[in-house]
Amino acid sequence: MVIIESTELNHLLEGLISRGYLLVGPTVRSGAIVYDEIRSAEDLPRGVGDEQLPARYSLRRRDDAMFFGYGVGPVSWKKFLYPPRLTMFRATKAGKGFTITPGETEPRPRTAFVGVRPCELNGIIMQDKVFLGGPYVDGAYKKARDNAFIVAVNCTESGANCFCASMGTGPGVTKGFDIALTEVLQGKRHYFTAEAGTSLGKEVLGALSTREATDPEAKAGLDAVARAGTSQVKRMDVRDLPQLLNDNFENPRWDDVAKRCLACTNCTMVCPTCFCSTVEDSTDLTGTHAERTRKWDSCFTMDFTKVAGGNIRPSTRARYRQWLTHKLSNWMNQFGTLGCVGCGRCITWCPSGIDLTAEVDAIRGNGVHA
C-alpha cells in the first residue's frame, strides 16, 4: 500500500491521460453528483457532500476539502458500459434485399473510471455475469469493459440510504479494481492510501512518486472505512431472502406497495445492476435506410410483457413484485448472487420514497416462512 498526497492526486489522473485514457469521474451538474468526462482533479466535487433520504437528494457544502466526500448520485457507471441508447445495426435496401452494417464503427476510447464506489464495482461485476458470463456475449459491453480502467474509492462515510454492509458489497472494495484509493483527512493531514489490484494498476501507481504507507497511515484509512460500515443505519435483512420472496408471491404487502408505486421506472434507471432493454426499429423517410436501436427498458412499463395473447403483468402490484423478486430472489438462480448492491439509489430517487429494505421487512413480518 502506498501513499498519494492529496496535492498529488492530479498526477494519477495525468498519468492515466498520458496513457491514452479518457477520464470519467464525479462532477457537479444540475445540483447533483454525476459521472461525466473530467480533465483533472479540479473537476472533482471537492468539498461537496450530499444529503439523501427516501425521495430526497440535495448537495451541501462540506466544511472540509474532501475530494470524495459524497454518496452515490443518480448516475451509475452502467451508462458507460451498457449505454442507454446503442445503434445495433444499420440496414440499406439493395434490390429485393438489404445489406447490414454494424451500428458501432467508431473505436471506443479507453476509459478510466475514477471514483468507483465499492457498491458500484460490485454492480459492474454483477452486470459482467449478465453480459459476459453466459453462452452469449454482448459485444459492445465486452469492448467497453475491456477498455475500462477502474480507480475505485472506498467509502469512509455512509449516507442514510446506504446498506452495502448488509449486502456484503462495501464499504471497502475487495476485488475488480485496477487501483483502489482510500481518502484520509485528519486535521490538516490529507492523503490517499492506494493499492493496485492488477499489474496495470501497479504500473500506473509505480510511475508516480509515491512511498510506502506507514502503519498508522494505513490504519487510519482502514479504520475510516470500517467506521463507514458500522455507522450504517439502513440494513437489509438478507437471511434466506430468495426463499422468503419466492414463498411470498402472494402477500398483501404487494397491494400496499402498489398504492405508493407510480411505476415511473426511476428505480430501474438509477439501479447499477438493472439490465433490461428493448429495441426500436425505424426507417428514414425514403424507406431505404433502416436501423435498430437498443434502449434501456424497465419492467415497470406497460409494454414490457406484451405478448400475442395480451399483457402478462398489467398491474403495478405485479410489476413491483417482479422487480423486487428479480433483484432479491430470482437473480440468485440466474447468476448465483443477489442482484442488489445496497447503493440506496432506488430509495433516494423514488418519488414516493419506497424503501426496498422496508418492503422486505414488511414481507418478513407478515409473510409465509418456509
Binding site: D303, G309, G310
Partner: protein, 159 residues
C-alpha cells in the same frame, strides 16, 4: 342371456366403473341396446327427456337452433361419454338437439324407470346423482375453457 350380455356391456362403460353388483342389477332393468346410423337424430330440443345414453362407439353432435344463425354445433360426445341428464331434472325436457355424426352404438337407459328406482332406493339414487355430478362438473369445466376462445388473440397483441 340378453340381460347378462347387457350387464357385461354396462360394466365396461367408464361411467359405471366400480358400481356394486346390486346397483348394476337395478340399472340393467332400465337398459336397452341401441344403434343410430350416421345422420340419425337422438334427441330433439324441447321434447320430453326420458332417456340417457352411455355411448359405446361412434360420435354424437349436440346442436342448438339459433334463429338467424341456424344450427350451431356446440359439442360432440363419443365412446365412454354420457349423453343427457335432463331426464334427471324437472321439467325433464331436452335443451338441445343431438344427432349421430358417425354410426353410434350405445346403451339407452329409461329415465322414468330410473327415476322411480332412485326414489325407491335412495342409496342407488345417491350413486346415480354423484356419478352425474362428476360428469356435469367436467363438462362445465370443458365448456368454460371452450368459451375462453383461447386460440384467438386479443387486439392488444403486438409482434
Amino acid at each position: 342371456m340378453q340381460t347378462e350380455n347387457l350387464t357385461d356391456i354396462l360394466r365396461q362403460h367408464p361411467f359405471l366403473a366400480g358400481l356394486s353388483e346390486d346397483h348394476m342389477q337395478v340399472l340393467v332393468g332400465c337398459a336397452s341396446n341401441v344403434r343410430f346410423a350416421e345422420g340419425a337424430p337422438l334427441i330433439h330440443e324441447g321434447e320430453i327427456a326420458n332417456k340417457f345414453y352411455l355411448v359405446r362407439a361412434g360420435r354424437i353432435a349436440l346442436e342448438t337452433d339459433v334463429n338467424a344463425r341456424g344450427k350451431i354445433r356446440i359439442q360432440t360426445v363419443g365412446p365412454g361419454d354420457v349423453l343427457g341428464w335432463s331426464w334427471l331434472i324437472s321439467p325433464f325436457r331436452w335443451h338441445f338437439n343431438a344427432l349421430a355424426v358417425a354410426d353410434v352404438r350405445a346403451v339407452a337407459l329409461d329415465g322414468e324407470c330410473l327415476r322411480k328406482k332412485c326414489e325407491d332406493d335412495h342409496d342407488f339414487g345417491y350413486e346415480m346423482l354423484s356419478r352425474f355430478s362428476r360428469v356435469m362438473e367436467r363438462r362445465l369445466e370443458a365448456t368454460r375453457v371452450q368459451l375462453l376462445d383461447l386460440y384467438t388473440t386479443s387486439p392488444g397483441a403486438r409482434v
